[in-house]
Structures are given as structure tokens and as C-alpha cells.
Symmetry: C2
Subunit: 228 residues, 2 copies
């Protein structure tokens, strides 16, 4: 593979994916795409910029979807005008397969935009960092979703774009281990859904991130363990 | 069906669809969605506004996708920075199944955005005016595309959004006939891909439109037959 597009949020998984594609898969021309869609944790975009530079990508485009939070109104806790982000412990078990932090059709939208970017440049491969979680997760991070989306894209009458999600079946700790192997600097990644000045340590994203570091008996370099 | 979202470009088909959904299907709450994606014929948006008012929709949202023409660069003759729109006669037969007026992944993007709008408002049905053309057409206007997209959307773990394209197998003249039956004022629809002050009468959209009116032996009210 000579060229690829990588969806880069600035979180742990997509940052690891970016370095994986550039260095492990040795794709010489990598285009990173990030989207500002009204997420409360837009500071993850700073991390995305840092990682794109660190990976030496050919291009990094940050696309502003100014309209998005308005389009979905209060449709997600992750975006402006939505409800507060809950602590993980406050999310009922019965809601964890499509929790309040779900953003309606976000991944389909972002992947469709990435596919358009790719197709316009005759790039055939798009990567995203989805992981299937058993208990807290999203339908647009599953193998079924990936396969059905690719079946749709395959109808293109010229060269079709294929979406890849190589971390789909990995656990968060396994992706972290891969990232550490690749030398990813996780102090320049952002996970906390609340997007405050420091990670809240209680939202679903913070709890998952802490569990991944704990599983590897590593300290999270983003956290100043003395100060917090 | 109590509520629906309709993709409204301001062309003949989607304008007819809007009135079809509101009056023939008698959906009491209709939300029309239009998108400005850098198309050269953005004046179709004026027509969309007119038709939305005429149909008495509950809401009409015009979403500005300012970034889109940049995202696809020169990827389509329909958008800024792209090549000129050709006359239909200048499009080689071998290219008519995915011609230069194809916009990369546009319909997938717009339908994903419409699905997000719908899901955030607990609306389960989205309509678009796709027609499958035999000779000049697009992969994202086919039954296969519709079915595979719906198979993807069906993975939603709550109430899934379904996309409907009731005109898929109609010919342009058949849609026009339906529109005339419904009393649609076609002087307030816009088709010409070039978006000049008057229709060019030579681009693929103008030629198709003329053929539809000719098939019904009707005059196109958008054309001032004396002056042109």
C-alpha cells in the first residue's frame, strides 16, 4: 500500500493507528484527517496536530463541521448543547450498548467524508481506530458495521474505497501496548470526554484509559501523579 | 408515518418528492434538509426554499458544508475548483456510468447527515429523490446502494433510521407527471448543472429535464420560450 487516509481524533487508539500505518505498515504517503464536530473535548485536536507532526504525515487536514452540533441539537453528551457527560458508574448497564455519549451516525459521517477525500485523490484505503467494546460501546465500531459499510462502498463503479479497522478486536490495553512499542508519546493524546484542563478520571473515556495503563502496570504520562 | 426527513436539493425530483411525502403520503411533520456543498448551481437552494414554503413543511434547514469543495479538491465538475461541466454530448459513452459530474460519496455523506438529524429527533424515516438512470448515472442512486446503506443503518442498537427512495425506478418523465398531478410549480425548481442566470440547455441535467417535459408534451415553465 502506497497511500492511505487515517482518521485521527487525537485519542489513544487513533494516535497509535497513525504510527502503526506509517511505521509498521510502512505506508509512505499518509493523509491524516481530523474533524471538529462540536465535541466538548475539542482539545483532542491539539493532540492530533502533535501526533500528525510526530508521525511525519504527508498531509493533515482539520475539517471544521461547524454545523454539526446544531444538526443533532442536544443529541449527544459529547457535543455542545447536549446533556452533561456522566461518570461511567452513573451509566446504567442497560444503556451501555448505546450510551448518552453516542453521537448519532458520527462514524458513518466521518468515514463517508474520509472516503470522499480519498476518492478525490485516487487513494483506495481509509483507516479508523474503532474498537469493539463488549459492555460500553457503539454499533458503528463493530465488524458488522465495517463489513456492511464496505459492501456499500464496493458499489462504486470505479476504484472503490475500502475502510480498515485493524484494532477492531483489540482491547484497549493491547492497543496501548502496541503504541508503546511504536514509541507513541501518550502525553500528547487526549481521552477525557469532558475536555477540562486536566482529565476528570471519572468519565467513561478516562476510566477506560486508566484501565489500559493499569493492565500494563504503566503510568499515564498525561497525568501528573504528584500534582493530582 | 407521522414524521419524516426529506432531502431537498431544489431540483425536479426532490421537489416532487417533498410534495409527495407531504400530500400523497400525508406525513404531518416533514423536515426538509438542503445542503450547500460548493455546487456551482447553488441557486437550486433558492428553489428549495420556495418549495419548502409551498409544501408547508414543519422545518427547513439549509446546511452549509463550507469545507466540502476543499475536501474533494477538483474532484467533481459540479463543485468549485472542479473542471467545467460538459455538454451531455461531450461525455463519452464509457464514462456515463460515473461521469465527471459525479461528486465523490456525496449521497452517502448527505444521507448520513440526514440520518443523524433524524435520529437526534427520534425520526425513523428519511427520503431522497434518487433515480436509477440506465446510461447517465451514479452508483449512489441505485437499489443496491439503498439496500446496503439500510443494512448498515439497521445495526443501530436503538430505533434505526431507514432511507426511502420511492422514485428509484421511475423515469424522469414519470416523476414529472407525478409532480404535475400534485400541482408542483416547476418554475421554482432548478436543474442546470452550470447554474448560470438561465438554464444552459446543453448540460446533462438540462437535457434530461427537457426530455422529461418533451415526453409529456409540456412546456417547461422555467424557460421563457419567447426570450430564449
Amino acid at each position: 500500500m502506497e497511500r492511505a487516509v487515517v482518521l485521527l481524533s487525537g485519542g489513544m487508539d487513533s494516535s497509535t493507528l497513525l504510527h502503526h500505518v506509517a511505521r509498521r505498515l510502512r505506508v509512505p504517503e499518509v493523509h491524516a484527517l481530523s474533524f471538529v464536530y462540536g465535541q466538548k473535548h475539542a482539545r483532542e485536536i491539539e493532540a492530533a496536530r502533535w501526533q500528525a507532526r510526530a508521525a511525519g504525515v504527508t498531509a493533515h487536514r482539520v475539517v471544521e463541521l461547524d454545523f454539526f452540533a446544531g444538526l443533532i441539537g442536544g443529541g449527544s453528551a459529547l457535543t455542545a448543547h447536549g446533556p452533561d457527560v456522566p461518570d461511567l458508574g452513573a451509566v446504567p448497564e442497560a444503556e451501555r450498548d448505546q450510551p448518552v455519549t453516542y453521537v448519532p451516525h458520527r462514524n458513518l459521517i466521518l468515514l463517508a467524508l474520509a472516503a470522499a477525500y480519498a476518492e478525490a485523490r485516487q487513494i483506495a484505503d481509509v483507516f479508523y481506530g474503532a474498537q469493539t467494546q463488549d459492555r460500553y460501546g457503539y454499533w458503528d465500531c463493530t465488524r458488522d458495521f465495517l463489513e456492511r459499510l464496505n459492501a456499500t462502498l464496493a458499489l462504486n463503479r470505479r476504484r472503490a474505497v475500502t475502510v480498515h479497522a485493524p484494532f477492531l478486536t483489540l482491547r484497549k490495553g493491547e492497543t496501548l501496548a502496541l503504541g508503546l512499542e511504536l514509541g507513541v508519546d501518550f502525553s500528547h493524546t487526549w481521552s477525557c470526554y469532558r475536555g477540562g484542563p486536566v482529565p476528570c478520571r471519572a468519565c467513561p473515556a478516562c476510566v477506560e484509559r486508566a484501565a489500559a495503563f493499569a493492565a500494563l502496570r504503566q503510568a499515564d504520562p498525561l497525568l501528573d501523579t504528584k500534582g493530582q
